[in-house]
Structures are given as C-alpha cells and as structure tokens.
Symmetry: C2
Subunit: 472 residues, 2 copies
C-alpha cells in the first residue's frame, strides 16, 4: 500500500513535470508590473529606492520584516477621493474603512486630509474617538455592535449608525430611548450582486422596503438614508453602474414611503486596486502544479478613483435631475482603494533550499504577515537584485513551519540568496489586521514622508508575546 | 447584464433550495459527539459544566469570548505519551510542539510532567529557556532558524538541532566552529507520503543519504540521529506503520554509512485527535450549498495515544531485535494530540439575523480566533440550551465584517438567541497561534484545575492594540 502510494505520487510528479513546459508554452511568462507604478526607482548601486531612500537601508535600520507606509500616496489617494469630478456640483463625503489597515499613524494622515472614520467594532469606535475624529465624521457599521458601543455612538450623535440587519433596529431604538435622544440610522441593503449572508437586507422580494417601514415606526430612530456596500472588488464600469443603478432604483422606492427626502446615500466601498486583484483557484492551482505564472492584472484598464467618482456621481446627479429633486449627500467608505497601494512589506531571504527544478526561498514573512498573497496578485520585486533578469523559478515560503505557509508556489525572480531583500507590494489593505504572532513577533511599521522615515509602530519583542500572561 | 446575473443568481438559489431536501435525505443528519468525551456534564439548571463549574459562569466572570484550558486533561495526555506500552522495555522521550499552542501556562503544565520543548523559531527557543526547560529537553526545528538563535542553541548544547534542509548544515557547522564546540544535529528526511516543499530532504532518490554523507564530513557536527515528521494527521494503523517502516528502512541504510550507531530516532508528531479531523472541500461545499451536515468523526475508531505508542515502539523494537542491535532512543514531537482536546473556546451570540431558511448567529468569535473551524470538524455545544433539541439550522458567523468570517455555513443547534453561549471544542491546537486582533481584542485564557479557574492570560484591552504605536 505505501509502495503503491509512493509510486502513484512519483508518477503524478512525473506527469506534472512533463506537462509543465507544454502549459508554460500555451500561457507564456507574464511580465511584472512596472516599479514606476509605485514611484519606485532603480539605483545602480543602492537597489530599489523610494523618495530617494534605498529600501534595503530601511531594513538595515529598522529590521526585517518591515512595513513601509508612504505618506504622499496616502494624501494623494485621500485628495483624489475628495475631488469633485468635472460636471458634478459636489463631491463625496469619504469615510475610511478602519478595518482595512487600522494603524493609528495611517488613520491620522487620512483624517488630516478630511477623511472620516468608518468603524465596525467597539474597538474601532473607541480608536476614532481617541484620534480626535469628530462625531459627524464617524460612521458605525457591521454585524457585531455591542450595546455599550451603541450607547456611546448614540450619545455622541455620530453621523450614522448603519444597521446591519433588521434585528438591530429595535436595539438601537431601545438604547436611544434610554438616552432620551434620536439616533441617526440607515439600514444596510443588498443589491442582487454582492455580499449577503450575515450582511444586509435584500432589496429583492421587498424585504429591505419592509425593514425600512419597520424602522419608520420607531420614533427614536431618525432614518437619514440608506447604506449599500457591495463587497468584492469593483474593477470595471459595468460592475459599478449595475450596482449604483440598483441602489438608485431602491432609493426611489424608499422615497415613496419616507416622510421626508433621504438625506444621504452611502455607497460603501469595494473599489479595487489597479495593481492587485483576486486570483481564482484555477490560476493558483496552475501556478502550484505546473509553474504557470499567475496573470498580471491589466493595471491600465482598471477603474481609477477619478473615473469611479465621475461615473458614480454622474449617475446619481442624473437620477435626481430626472426626478427634479435635490440630490442627497453621497457617502463613500473606501478601504483597499485608499490605502492598499500606499504600503509595502519588506522581507528578507533567511535561507534557500534547492528542490527539483525550483529554489525554495524561505522568507522572514509568510502567511503570518501576508496571507492575502495566497489569494490575490501582489507584485514582488527583488530590492537587492532588481537589475538582474527574472530568470529563476522560486517557491516563496514563510517561516512558520506549516506547508500552508507558501506565498507563491512558483515565481520567476533573479536567483535569490540568503540576505536578499524582497518588496511585496500593495500591503496596505488587510495585511496588518490579518497578521498573527505565530511563532514570530510582528514587524515594525515605518512611514516614509518626503524621504524621511519615522517609526509608526515598533516591532513586537519576545517579551511582548507573553506580557499578558500570568507571571512565569 | 445585471438583470441577467440577478436572474441567474436567483435561479441558482432556487435550484439549491430544491436540491437541499433531496441531498439531506441521501445523507441524513449526523449525530453530534457526546459531551462526555470531554468530561462535560449537563446540569439541569446551570447548563453544561466542567469539573462542577458551569461554563456560562466562566464567561460571566472572565468575559466572552474565553479560552478554557483543562489542566487535568493536559496532565493526562502528557502521562499517556510518556507511558511504556506493555511489551516495550522503554518509552519515548516527548517534546511538545510549542507552535501548536504557545501559552506559557499550558507549556509549564506539560513541562512539570517531564515533557520537553520542540521549538521552531528564535522566540520559541527563548521562551523555552525563560520557562526553565533544560538544554537536554530542548529540540530546535523548522526552516527559519536565525544565526543568533542557532548560536544560542549550539552554545547551550541543546538535545538536538534538527537541520530542516541540507543547506542548513554548513551554517550550523560554521557557528559551532566559531564557538569551538560540536553541535548535536539530525537531518530532517521526508518519507514518500507527507510534507515536502520547504521541509526536509527526500529519502527517495538517495538524496537524504547524500545529505547525511555531507554532514558526516563536517567535524563540527555530531550527527546523533534522524528526524522525520510526516505532517498531516495520522489517524489509523496503516498510515502510522507505513511511515514508521519507511523511517526504519532509511535508518538501516544510514547506519551503513555512520561511524557509530544512531543515538536517536525522532518520529516527529502528526498523531490526530479522535474528535476533530480535517474536512475535505467537498464536505464543506455540501454544507454551504445544500446544508448537508459535515461528517462527524468516528471517534471510537481513531488511533489512541496508547495504540500509537504500542505500534510505533513495537515496530522499532522488532526492527532492532531483528538486527540484533540495541534500539536507539525514540523521540516524539506531538502537538495536536497533546493539547488539542484540553481546551475549548466559549463564545456568545451577539445577535441573530433571520435569512431564508436559516438563522444567522453572529458570534463574538469568528475566524479571528477559530480559523481552523473552516477546515476541520470541531464539535459545537450550546452551553445554555444543551437539553433542547438540535432542531434549528444556523449559520455561525464571527464579528469581523467579512463574508470569509463564517465558521459553519449550516449547523443544527437548539434555536439560538442573543446572549446564548456556545462551546467550540478542541481549541487547544492552532487556535491561539493563528488568532488575530482583527477589529476585536483577543480573549482571556483561563485554566480550570480541580474545579478552580485561574487566569493564564488576560484579555487584550483597546489600549493594548495600539500600545506599540508612536504617541497619538
């Protein structure tokens, strides 16, 4: 039996090895994205640099692995989201999705640009208050609001509590009644395409409208608008317009039962990044089995922030012009599109291991810090050998001693050696919140601003990892 | 286009709904495992209790969510792993896999029973030293050893450095040379079934033997044995015997090139738990799409610790008797089988949401604390309604505002309401190390010992989550 399994496993290996060149010929090597998309520059002697700072020097100074946040890109993204498209009379009010990258130094930078806080937990609500975000720039979302946090939100009179599901309405009403105030609420509704499950009430079947009718019977609730967050990544115009038109059609229905016009329409987030996109299982499997490159995103074709705003506000303006009604305030809750491309993760090669046909590069960052790389395209650059040809096939694995800790089954890079430094791009969405301290302390986070690097968060120490434990 | 997609999505929904009763009839409802397997008792008025302590009182006292570790079960598992099977002359030397559940209070309890430390990172090596584990009870594994940590390990003369791959050998030799000592090493080898990739050198094709030949040329290395960790879960006798016999066959080859007999054989870990097992994708998909129960593990048929030892030591003893040689020391590195069933995670229902045909129960613990539940069977009990029939279909989701935060797409439980408390069993392997602080602080960990609960690790506070950040 073991002999048979071994034989089978070995034959499978031979079949895969034989199929590799064929499949690689059918889908030739993918070109990497250009470092210029992130303003990275190539210096003959100092490797890749950002704002004149060699990335490898940052690792020498602050240790590896290392998150590098770029202030200029954060400010630029914030400014772009708050810009008014030509033809529009007003722009959007923008609330950053805290859960995407809840680093206080990042959040402060965005708030300084007039961006508000979209929070989904008692902790995030507390953090926004700590960071001095005013109540009118705070929105509370999510399926898991505690009574205490709702009490705080209602008492402070935050901009809106977006009730995740119908059952939240009486809770908010009860708390508002206890406090003797009215709470500003919206109800999250689901369009035909997008997340459902634990989120929102479907527009289809009249369920969302029924929930709104219920909300309107509660005198403690001030129903100020509607909330629709599609989820997934909106990457092209048809996807965006389909979503927006469904929301607008529902808003029109809703206006029919409202005692007064809707004050606001909240379109949530979900705008994708041009340089990173979801990898389907097939792409990942082909990469693993046959070493076929995962597809590089068509960055130039992706929806930009400007085009997203232009289309979204264009559709809303047109809709209300047609109805001859003033258009409500438009709220957005971007996450990935705001911070994703403003951060990179530097990691070093701890060791290499020669396997048949590939070199396994064991990095000091794996799924403990960059789990998204398993299901999303993230461009990887070799900071220390950027000028060399991407000639050699590598498996990039992390340090945590689990076969699941494989970031890239097969990636062409210059031949790596111990001590080489890699940059994993677009680390500003979901890398930090999903990070664990699995056997290795979490890294420092620095901000690069006008070429100056300052520490936003120090790295964890060994002592930190057991500092909440009872005395040893 | 959106109309078409909506129609398609809605038709798919109808097809799934129509297929559900058919598929559920083909595979009837699964019975849950008995609470008695974890010594849980059902109290008429106080719900489920453990050692006379009502679990819901623990949540009232220490907050929710809450990890509960059971000292008696830890001691019992340790004792069982160190027992000598009938017919054997000696037992095994046992090193607990720190990465599986690195809670100092848990580790101390195991060390008090004579269990050593199997560490895979500089942090874990440091922690074992902090906890007073002697050098001879420490083993250093994994692909990501730093030079500093290797220096410490060599200097202290730990029991064994298991070189993960051939390329580690010259590093260890260089460090030993610098320190003027010899390092006790083994080399990790791969059998035909089991993990490979970043781990080990294959026995097949003579590669492991070649690596050993290389090690034997390095005078700084004292090659004391071999290391083989299969990975995955060993759940039955044929799997175990196939693995052990391959290791023994290689050991025999190896003895042929060694200047002296092997001092030790390290068979790693991988023994599974009887009450939890890997769920294949199909089982998960059928649960999600058609609400078919995931299969309950056949707990009574799984390999016990006693039977595992009896078979493993029996095979080793027989092998060396046949060769008329003394048998080497036998090392084991259990993780899951040592601590998995000694811990449970208590979580409360924050809110419920009625969906078509199911109730979505929003819990205060999701993939942030219990990601393993997505790919492994974990028994769930309703602590507060254990006597009621499991009559109602629930989707169990966590709090983190992501559709990925779904622990069970469909699980039959008594009808849940806000405030109900659930126990997720077998939380003592990979729950704590894979936990994140995604929007919610991590919970407290208590140990129950002879009915007394004491705090091992306090819960994170809001302040903790940003305490390493630069002043706000």
């Amino acid at each position: 039996m073991p002999g048979y399994r071994a034989l089978l496993s070995s034959s499978k290996g031979k079949v895969k090895a034989a199929l590799r060149p064929l499949l690689q010929a059918v889908q030739p090597a993918q070109l990497p994205l250009s470092p210029a998309l992130w303003d990275l520059e190539d210096d003959l002697t100092r490797g890749l640099t950002l704002e004149g700072t060699p990335l490898r020097e940052l690792v020498t100074r602050f240790g590896s692995p290392l998150h590098v946040v770029r202030a200029a890109r954060l400010r630029d993204n914030a400014r772009r989201f708050r810009s008014i498209p030509s033809g529009a009379t007003r722009g959007c009010e923008v609330f950053y999705s805290y859960k995407t990258n809840p680093i206080p130094g990042v959040l402060k930078t965005l708030h300084e640009q007039g961006i508000g806080a979209e929070v989904i937990s008692p902790y995030e609500l507390w953090l926004a208050k700590e960071l001095g975000v005013p109540a009118e720039l705070t929105i509370y979302n999510g399926p898991a609001k505690s009574d205490d946090s709702l009490r705080d939100a209602v008492e402070r009179g935050i901009q809106a509590i977006n009730c995740n599901h119908r059952e939240e309405l009486p809770r908010v009403a009860r708390i508002a009644r206890q406090l003797g105030v009215r709470a500003r609420v919206t109800l999250r509704v689901n369009t035909s395409v997008g997340w459902s499950g634990q989120f929102g009430t479907p527009i289809q079947g009249g369920r969302a409208l029924a929930a709104y009718r219920e909300a309107l019977t509660m005198p403690e609730l001030s129903v100020v608008g509607l909330h629709a967050h599609r989820g997934g990544q909106i990457r092209n115009e048809p996807e965006l317009l389909a979503f927006v038109s469904e929301v607008l059609a529902f808003a029109e229905q809703l206006e029919g039962i409202m005692p007064s016009p809707l004050e606001l329409l909240n379109f949530g987030g979900s705008l994708g990044l041009s340089t990173s996109e979801h990898l389907d299982d097939r792409a990942r499997r082909r990469n693993e089995l046959f070493h076929v490159d995962v597809p590089t995103p068509a960055a130039a074709e992706a929806l930009t922030i400007e085009r997203y705003l232009e289309l979204l506000l264009g559709a809303v303006d047109q809709h209300y012009r047609r109805l001859s009604k003033p258009r409500p305030r438009v709220f957005l809750e971007p996450g990935r599109a705001m911070t994703g491309n403003a951060q990179l993760l530097l990691t070093r090669v701890l060791s290499t291991k020669e396997n048949a046909g590939t070199t396994c590069a064991i990095l000091d960052a794996g799924i403990n810090l960059a789990e998204s790389v398993k299901s999303e395209y993230h461009q990887v650059f070799c900071v220390t050998r950027h000028r060399e040809a991407r000639s050699h096939l590598h498996t990039l694995v992390g340090p945590i001693c689990s076969p699941g800790d494989t970031l890239y089954p097969a990636l062409r890079l210059p031949p790596l050696a111990e001590g080489d430094c890699l940059a994993i791009m677009d680390a500003g969405a979901y890398f930090v919140p999903f990070s664990t301290s699995f056997s290795f302390p979490r890294p420092a986070i620095v901000m690069l601003d006008d070429g100056q690097a300052t520490l936003l968060r120090r790295r964890e120490t060994f002592e930190d990892l057991c500092s909440y434990d009872s005395p040893r």
